[in-house]
Symmetry: D2
Subunit: 311 residues, 4 copies
């Protein structure tokens, strides 16, 4: 196939998937435990694929912004790797946890070192690293994501962030347990604040695909040709997304979709096909493991019909 | 034996034990993890027995004040039972934990309800109950203990309390985990503050035996004849002390000493013989399970020679 | 009170309790997981108290034999202490477990050393010790219990034992895990066989109170004046019964009844009051923690009305 | 690059890696816990890559047979999928465990359903499935692997299998725990026997690469063009290898090597690059996580120099 044939095929598939999903009965439920998230229209569906040359293929509600939630943890991880590189792994692991995303049990047994950067404890350590590394970590992070997406409009949702902070007892417990093991250096409030703002980032599918494209491109930002992180760091992040990006549904996602990716309870999923594309999908209803029900389904249809699975 | 024979025998035994312990080589180490506690002279040894008619039999450093630490948890438990009675057991259990005193694992698995009032999580819930029940819980608690000991001199050690608060990350983790399960109602700082002040209470062996005498007397304060708690509540506290008063050394203490009791990392131990006496001992060096090495030994010698074990 | 007044009072109380329980609505369910046990008439109620001078006070179905199940673990523990004394504690602990009676979790974390002799793992180690110590451990154990009860009629219920062996997968798992940690020396089948026969012992309340009387008598068999175990070993067993005899209801039993005791899923409970009496009760319906619902209630009524609680 | 250029490059890289590894100081230790494995010469090093057209590129000790151990679990998994297809996932999961490969803890908490087919519990369930599905499962499995490798010479190492069976207490514990949850249907001995024979399979690197080639070829056996399993089942196995093939080093292997693979304590590793090749390596010294120290290193060098990582 020529490049334009490939694009045509992608476009055809994405439109067909949009049609199919919209005809399906609604499955799953919108997340309710974070105030604000529950006001999202449950039956939104959007999808955007962006190729390395920044060709954009979209369908459905691809321009409707949504709360990234845990998807943002890839941005903070990237920034932390830029700041301290491999030293990061002294404080957080790279292995699947086999436990609930917010459990303290494994964290206590393993003496305060979180299994990976995507479970809550790990993402909190990453926030702590950023606070130590940058004077204004919240501003720094925002600028970094704005650079990736080539737009100054992107921002935090202060109301979501503040409401999440108010019910962050479990995260405060994780932080304090890690402080006891000397694996969090900054004050609890500052770590919690950065974490909640990070999760409150909002963008639409088109922007989301754009921001993740560097991970499909060996670490090079396609718009500016700037090397964001090294190819080795890129492999590291992609490997972690593959193994830990979907909590206790990682194995199922690897089989059904076959791409490194990351989900958020806002109903978004991002996945990347190395050397080819990034693909974002939005569908707010979640399955019982907290991942977008139709989002996984849509990606499965896409990688099956285009033989894109890496397995 | 007549009552005076019994007193004579107690006195002889306690003096003999004092002699024997002082001749023994030093065993164990003073607690170091709480700043301030490590400045205690390690080879202090004191012992006081007080009978229901308030006869006092002492030996050694029985007038040297020391930090009660976890022993104080019996006072807060008593006050909480006075305030809410059996409702307390909706929020904290009465069973041995089988886990480390500050572990979060069982607490997470059991959805935020601590196993008993003496592990840290349980004692923190008790503090939360007192804060909800009393306008000035710290003052109220102090007055209660002063009443028990019939002295206004007793007080908190502010310096120990404040230094403990500064390193209370593990306790803050426990509080936040319980807040997540809605089992702590008041702000983290207030709960932590009351807890650390509670543990910082200081008194000597003579006062300690005096304060616990009501638990040997079916809940009646011997000095004032006031019913502090009901006989049923008294049985409850004694049963909990028997089963949970020595963390993972409860079974060993039950065998060797055979009385309900409570230890603290300050090196103190209190035990009571229902309907007969309370006995306090101080020896700051701790065994590897965190209980006073010679304190247990001294009590074992005493209950063996006087056939006082309840078993 | 004179001795005969005491006996009269005991008798009055036990008859009153028998009346009261029989008028109560049925509570709880007969154990169903062991084939054979579920054929017991659910509303049996019997109670026997025996004093040190072997005065017998009975009420209700005190002559109806029932399956001792876990109560028998006190016999095997006693015999093992006779065989190897304190060395036993190298292989099994003396502390409450805080876990389900048949859990493998704590056993794996603690490297194959069971917390106490009454959880399944611990009772299996005790059986292993007896197999190593005696040529014919099953016969030896039977003779020992017959000696205690002064009767040759007592025996194992082969049908219960064999049916229990057939569904002993969990116990086989425990044995194999301990073999992996080198804490079981004999073949799985032999250990399982002795364990199931041990649990199948049958007797009535009168015999049961008789067999346990030596534990209320500093280890001396009242009928023969023979020293069965030392006073120190007796204290050890009583302390373990107090702390571990009722699984995760030990604290509640200590409060409500206030005596060292042991329950079995056959609906029996035995308790002893040191220096005074042994008391056995039968009521097959169990509460949700697997202990006799009315059995605990009856003992609570008895120790309350006679002020017998040790606390 | 033309196909022949690619082959030339592969060949150059593999020879260079062989040279480099042989010059490196020895790292890690040969497995000692399975009798027989410890007699392997520790400094063997062999490597074989086989492309879909069955071109073979080898270096070093690529013709020296070794014990496959856990690598064989991929054969049993494949055969079980052929027998019962997706029903298999009712009895074993597809997610990383986050626990030690032989732990009973998670298995008890998750009620006897193993996390994935490669931890011991999961592989034992697979054996049970094969015993139920085939009259002569041991013979059937051997024939299947002989078919894959196109040779009748391959066989079990009876001496290794029998010696492993003798020390299989942990595996017997796992089986019995699963029997208790009704997730093992056949007798313990039969399951253990098949498991130990499975692990005792021996072959060299060239055969190993050959047997796994169908997983790089969408389930089609390249030699016979027979469809061994469906493309979907192939994706499933590859996804499981990626996420669970290296126990608690899966994330590290994904980053460093970037291919689905499986290791064994015999020092072998197999990995596949979908649509391109299978690659086998032998180096008996293991790192502390039980995977071949130089085997991982060699594969990392290879995928880096040939840009073969899927991430």
């Amino acid at each position: 196939m020529t490049s334009s044939d490939i694009i045509d095929n992608y476009s055809r598939q994405i439109n067909a998937i949009n049609d199919q999903i919209r005809k399906s009965p609604p499955m799953g439920k919108v997340a309710s435990y974070i105030p604000g998230l529950d006001r999202v229209p449950p039956d939104l569906f959007g999808m955007t694929l962006m190729t390395l040359d920044e060709t954009v293929i979209s369908a459905g509600d691809s321009k409707t912004p949504f709360s990234l939630q845990s998807i943002s943890k890839v941005f903070s991880l990237t920034l932390a790797l830029k700041a301290v590189d491999e030293e990061l792994w002294d404080r957080v692991g790279v292995e699947p946890s086999g436990n609930a995303f917010n459990s303290l049990i494994q964290l206590e047994l393993e003496k305060g070192k979180p299994r990976n950067p995507f479970i809550n404890a790990g993402a909190l350590v990453i926030c702590d690293v950023l606070i130590s590394a940058y004077d204004q970590p919240k501003q720094k992070l925002l600028e970094f994501v704005r650079f990736l997406v080539c737009s100054d409009e992107l921002s935090y949702n202060q109301s979501i962030a503040e409401s999440e902070k108010k019910s962050s007892y479990r995260n405060a417990a994780l932080i304090n347990l890690m402080k006891d093991f000397n694996n969090i250096k900054n004050p609890t409030d500052r770590v919690l604040d950065l974490y909640c703002y990070l999760c409150s980032l909002e963008m639409n599918c088109e922007s989301l695909a754009h921001t993740f494209l560097f991970l499909a491109n060996q670490g090079i930002h396609p718009s500016s040709n700037e090397q964001v992180i090294t190819p080795s760091q890129t492999k590291r992040i992609n490997a972690i997304m593959q193994l830990c990006g979907f909590y206790d549904e990682a194995g199922e996602f690897a089989y059904r979709v076959g791409l490194p990716g990351k989900s958020g309870v806002g109903g978004g999923i991002i996945a990347i096909k190395p050397c080819q594309y990034a693909i974002a999908v939005l569908s707010p209803r979640l399955n019982k493991r907290g991942n977008s029900y139709q989002g996984i389904h849509a990606l499965e249809l896409f990688t099956s019909s285009t033989a894109s699975s890496i397995f």
